[in-house]
Amino acid sequence: MRPPSSVIAGNSISIGTTGSAAATFYLIGPASSIKRSVDLGKDIPIVANNIQSAGNYVAIVCASSCTSSEFFVSAAQPSSLTLLVHPSRAPVAQKDVISAVALNFDEFHNLAMTPAGVDFHLSAQGVPPISRAVESKGGISWFRMSSGKSAGPLQVVASIDGVSTRRVVEEVASDPCNLRIKGQRTAKSISVETDPIRDCAGNPVPDGTVVTFTARDGDQVSTVDAPVKKDVARAEIDAKGPVTISAASGVVMGNELRMSGQ
């Protein structure tokens, strides 16, 4: 038997044979097994869809005895990219917080391992787009990058030979940078609220970020957790005597507010 020396997935081939007897031909591949009657001395045609999976194939011919020959099928050109991007939400201004991994596959889901240039294109509103070319190794290319300074969607597009795949990372505000509170007495309680809360790059922190207000009246301490809504967190604190109120969110402490008694 004379199988071709190199075979690309999804291409039909023919295997030459010698002899003149009737025989049984077998082709054992990673995803298939073929068995058919053949006449030795004639070429054995193998149709394309029997050799779509990359890997090693064993061709066997049995007449009075069995002989075998092996060949490899390689992946075809990349026609799809699997793109893994993490995280889906990234805080702004964080070093090397975003990573992207692209895997090259051909149309038959074979990992295309021939080195190829993969272009990563990153774009976000208000900043110039960034492109980075990475050569794949073993079918894989990857890169890591820092998040931008503005909150908003960051598009990550990986492309190879006209094929592209897109993912979106939502860049969100980092931890609050400054926390300032103000308050006033009402008839029954003290109403406190923060100034608009932003991270150190000036991005408003997301709604739902929790601010903890703490009121101290001598030895008595009471706390209220309040979520940020439209940049501001608000709380009502029941206290009739003089109290000192402070606020904290994450690791950031705000100013202290001293309120006199009613």
Partner: protein, 178 residues
């Protein structure tokens, strides 16, 4: 009479002992044949370092995966392919089993040893590429007739991803060399 009965009892005990020993011997041989030897080198893995616990899990699950692969292709059943194979690897192996059922072929992978080398571990740990230099005795049969028997050394590129409690083989692709 008593001597004769005593003799028969001893003879039966001896036969049972021989049978048990033979069964144990056969079971040992079968176990040696079917349990692959797997080693893993993580020295070149990157960009993420492979923790020792992760390395142990990969070795455990890759070994089990090959046991199941071997069992599936020997018994022509797709049942062993559930759990440790997914994606393309599972689709290919299932297709191979289906074809074997249709053609009456079976494959046996005996005396397996796998030298694994982790060559890529994604920054977030969600995919690992490994190179496996596998050695085994491959036996292909058509019904009861063995049509191919060889000691093979095959290079596989393997993609594994972590599941809830195991590492799953998603791609198992033989290449001529690394």
């Amino acid at each position: 009479m008593i001597n004769n009965r005593h003799y028969r009892r001893i003879k039966r005990s001896f036969q049972v002992a021989i049978a048990a020993a033979l069964f144990s011997f056969v079971a040992t041989i079968h176990a040696a044949d079917s349990v692959p030897q797997v080693t893993l080198d993580v020295a070149k893995a990157g960009p993420r370092a492979v923790e020792s616990l992760t390395a142990r899990s990969v070795v455990r699950d890759y070994k089990l995966a090959w046991m199941n692969l071997s069992h599936a292709l020997e018994s022509n059943s797709t049942v062993p392919l559930s759990g440790l194979f997914d994606g393309t690897a599972k689709a290919w192996l299932s297709s191979a089993v289906d074809d074997q059922q249709r053609t009456g072929l079976t494959r046996r992978y005996l005396n397996q040893s796998h030298r694994l080398e982790a060559v890529f571990y994604a920054p977030e740990g969600d995919v690992m590429e490994l190179h496996d230099t596998a050695e085994y005795d491959l036996q292909i049969s058509d019904g009861s007739k063995t049509i191919h028997n060889e000691h093979a050394t095959v290079h596989y590129v393997v993609l594994m991803t972590p599941g809830a409690d195991r590492w799953v083989v998603r791609q198992l692709q033989a290449v001529p060399n690394f």
